[in-house]
């Protein structure tokens, strides 16, 4: 067990854990954050996607010891159910979930895109989102939700 300091959703957090533990398990078990999901543990499905210094990463693959002081953001960092952020509002408005298990990962991948490119083309959205899998078939709504969030320029983006 090692004490590791992390910057999660803008807050300093400390955890005692085996440094080899993937970030996913630290987020879920030590920090009780539900957003990042276990899907494959192999970096193949994207359900565990979070952003680290604005880049989308598979939290199931990244050992917690390698995160350092880089800013980790999970879907909890985008807003709350009572006060949802732009992207969250867009996913609610488009009802962009069936089972929803992939959605938090989808949103963090989308957030990484919007952070770099606030006005992506539809083709850029498709290309960027292709990494993450949805098994229910919600793809068109997910793409519409990302489009809606991108088009909401001038709105407060959390």
């Amino acid at each position: 067990m090692t004490t590791i300091a992390l910057n999660i959703n803008g807050r300093q957090r400390q955890v005692d854990t085996d440094p080899a533990t993937p970030l996913l398990y630290v987020l879920r078990e030590d920090l009780a954050l539900n957003g990042a999901k276990f899907g494959c543990g192999l970096g193949q499905c994207g359900a565990c996607t979070v952003t680290v210094d604005g880049e989308a990463v598979f939290s199931c693959l990244m050992p917690v010891s390698q995160v350092g002081q880089r800013a980790v953001r999970t879907v909890e960092g985008l807003g709350t159910a009572l006060n949802p952020g732009t992207l969250q509002r867009a996913f609610i408005e488009e009802q962009a979930a069936q089972c929803g298990y992939c959605i938090a990962g989808m949103m963090m991948r989308a957030q990484a895109l919007l952070d770099h490119n606030p006005s992506p083309s539809d083709a850029e959205i498709r290309r960027h989102m292709a990494t993450n899998l949805c098994r229910c078939g919600t793809h068109m709504r997910i793409l519409r939700a990302v489009r809606r969030a991108a088009d909401g320029e001038g709105m407060h983006r959390t």
Partner: protein
């Protein structure tokens, strides 16, 4: 929008339904005994109104369904159904889903039966509850019933009012349902038929506790199972000494071929599982057909043959002038459900009783199977449905619940969470069966279908529990349980033969279902069972026949159809697609298909435009138009 605005904007402040007499449910007559079979939907299995709807003194309304949310949105739709008949804002209603100690036993949440069975029960129960309360209110307020109005759980009359909560005293709702209900007029619906936002989505997009995977119980520990690498693998040796010393490891559990490790923290359990897997030796023998021999297996495996349609005479003189014969065959491989979240369960054994939190599709059947596996009475097992990821049928949900129960038995008192790894799900879940079909038809001189012969070969499409032997872990125990022998799901719903009988008008037709009890893999229910293989076959074959008849494929389908609703979805899909005006050009094509699910439920016609990328042969779907007639749409 607040509750009042919601109700006001819905125009339902004044209740607009007709106060027909006849079957009016007063408190006195609602308890009349109805024979179960006369009751609508799942009221047949749970006739008591308060088995479906309870109202507390403070006006809180709770609706109970035996069906489970699987990502299909039924929580929202069932709340809408109840809200409509109770004339309440949907957010006044709490919904409890499948739970063996709280809800009706509605079997499995499968086969598009939730709205049909549970929705119907809730609609009728809610209407009868409303009528009972109006009857009591009329007495309480000394106002004739016809002069009462209803506004979001408050009944008004002669300037006075009384709330649902005040009216529900004693056992007024603890009565059996009547066979008929006074349902609100569809024209006055304020919430049924509206696009209400799903109640579960806000938590899912903000990191709220939305899934079983998000449950963190006090003292919870984590289990992982080391599965036999193949179904028949024999355990040769196991060395647990190294694993037991690993950090956080609480216990190695072994019972026959069931091997598992439980650790304090989740990643410790994974690390221990990996080490333990290295220290187990198995004897394996190849039992699976080679991938290129799967269809030989399907074609030649012992079969039970069922003639499911024999109409007219399908023997025809093919040498007669103008007669054309067309044949085709189709196939489908074994398919996994591939849920995005592998199966997960939590079990806890306290004071001789197990509680199991599971994303099973059937809490009651799971309770029966687990209690048999643990040699307990069913009352000693409590199964609670909590959402997992979409399952699309019988995946590992029940199996992982059995794993968790076995580990909870080994660590009494501790909640044990078992999360299958991706490889557990893909390696152990029951697959949707491989299938073959073969079609042969003759066309008369006019190109119409004179005879139709169709055969379909398939393993079973349901190995759901059932008994303990239908739980994977129970088949691995030192005293193993045997899986329930597979049997076909009868028509009209069917299993491998679901939708094998064409919905088209065929004068002479013969359809055979070859049911194959033996399977090289675990097989079970996957999305519509045999329907999409049979629909794919029938619809592809209709295209072949249209071509042989030199006819337009849409027109050809329509001339073999008499059902008005089927004709209408075909017409709408073709019109909206622009079928007749479609311009042909190289590398672009179009397609059309029709089905009525199970020949009993929703109608669909679909038209699509596709492009072939000539360099690669890849197909790109450019445009799809679907026309659906699902009957009454709740949301």
């Amino acid at each position: 929008m607040n509750r009042r605005e919601f109700i006001t904007s819905s125009g339902a402040l004044i209740v607009a339904f007709a106060w027909r007499r006849g079957y009016a449910q007063s408190a006195a007559n609602a308890g009349e005994q109805a024979s179960g079979s006369q009751l609508p939907g799942s009221l047949k299995t749970q006739p008591l109104l308060d088995g479906w709807i309870r109202i507390d003194a403070d006006g809180r309304v709770t609706v109970f369904t035996g069906k489970a949310e699987l990502g299909q949105g039924i929580k929202t739709a069932l709340i809408q159904v109840a809200a409509e008949e109770l004339v309440l804002a949907p957010d006044r209603i709490a919904l409890v889903t499948a739970d063996t100690e709280r809800t009706a036993n509605e079997g499995y949440t499968a086969g598009s039966h939730s709205m049909q069975d549970s929705g119907t029960a809730i609609r009728n129960a809610a209407a009868q509850v409303r009528e009972i309360l109006l009857g009591i209110a009329a007495q309480r307020l000394s106002v004739p019933r016809a002069q009462l109005t209803l506004d979001n759980g408050v009944i008004h009359g002669s300037g006075r009012n009384v709330s649902y909560g005040e009216l529900v005293t004693g056992d007024v709702l603890h009565v059996n349902a009547a066979p008929h209900s006074i349902l609100r007029e569809p024209a006055s619906h304020f919430v049924v038929g509206k696009s209400v936002q799903r109640v579960d989505i806000p938590a899912k997009v903000t990191g709220g506790a939305a899934y079983l995977q998000d449950m963190r119980l006090d003292g919870m520990v984590h289990g992982r199972v080391i599965r036999p690498p193949s179904a028949q693998a024999v355990l040769k040796s196991i060395d647990t000494s190294g694993v037991e010393r690993l950090p956080g490891v609480l216990k190695v559990v072994r019972d026959g071929r069931f091997i598992a490790v439980v650790a304090q923290r989740e990643f410790q359990a994974i690390a221990a599982m990996r080490v333990l897997a290295q220290n187990v030796q198995w004897d394996e023998h190849a039992t699976l057909p080679a991938p290129d021999q799967i269809y030989d297996f399907v074609r030649t495996a012992p079969s039970q043959d069922y003639v499911i349609l024999d109409r007219g005479n399908t023997t025809v003189d093919t040498s007669a002038p103008g007669v054309k014969t067309v044949t085709a065959s189709y196939r489908r491989p074994y398919q996994m459900h591939g849920s995005i979240g592998p199966s997960c369960a939590i079990a806890q054994f306290v004071d001789g009783k197990y509680t199991i939190w599971s994303h099973t599709q059937g809490v009651y059947p799971l309770r029966k199977a687990v209690s048999e596996m643990l040699s307990l009475s069913e009352e000693q097992v409590h199964c609670v449905h909590v959402e997992g990821s979409g399952c699309y049928g019988h995946n590992g949900a029940d199996d992982v619940a059995a794993d968790a129960a076995l580990l909870a038995r080994a660590l009494p008192g501790r909640p044990v969470r078992v999360q299958w790894m991706r490889e557990d799900e893909h390696g152990s879940e029951p697959y949707g069966p491989a299938m073959l079909s073969s079609a042969k038809a003759t066309l008369d001189a006019a190109g119409d279908i004179a005879t139709w012969r169709y055969e379909v070969w398939s393993n079973s499409h349901s190995s759901r529990p059932g008994g303990a032997g239908d739980l994977l872990a129970a088949t691995h125990l030192a005293q193993p349980f045997t899986p329930t022998p597979p049997k076909p799901i009868p028509q009209p719903e069917g299993g491998g033969d679901r939708n094998a009988i064409p919905f088209y008008t065929l004068t002479n037709a013969h359809v055979i279902h070859h049911f194959l009890p033996q399977a090289p893999l675990r097989v079970s229910a996957l999305r519509s069972l045999g329907a999409y293989m049979n629909v794919f076959s029938v619809e592809s074959f209709m295209d072949e026949l249209a071509r042989a008849a030199n006819a337009d494929p849409v027109a050809y389908r329509m001339r073999h159809m008499q059902d008005a609703r089927a004709l209408e979805v075909m017409r709408v899909a073709a019109d909206q697609f622009g079928w007749t005006a479609f311009k042909r050009r190289p590398a672009y094509g179009r397609g059309f298909a029709f089905a009525r699910y199970k020949n009993l439920a929703a109608y669909l016609a679909i038209a699509c435009e596709v492009e072939v990328l000539r360099d690669t042969g890849e197909l790109r779907v450019l445009r799809v138009v679907a026309a659906v007639d699902s009957g009454e749409a709740v949301n």
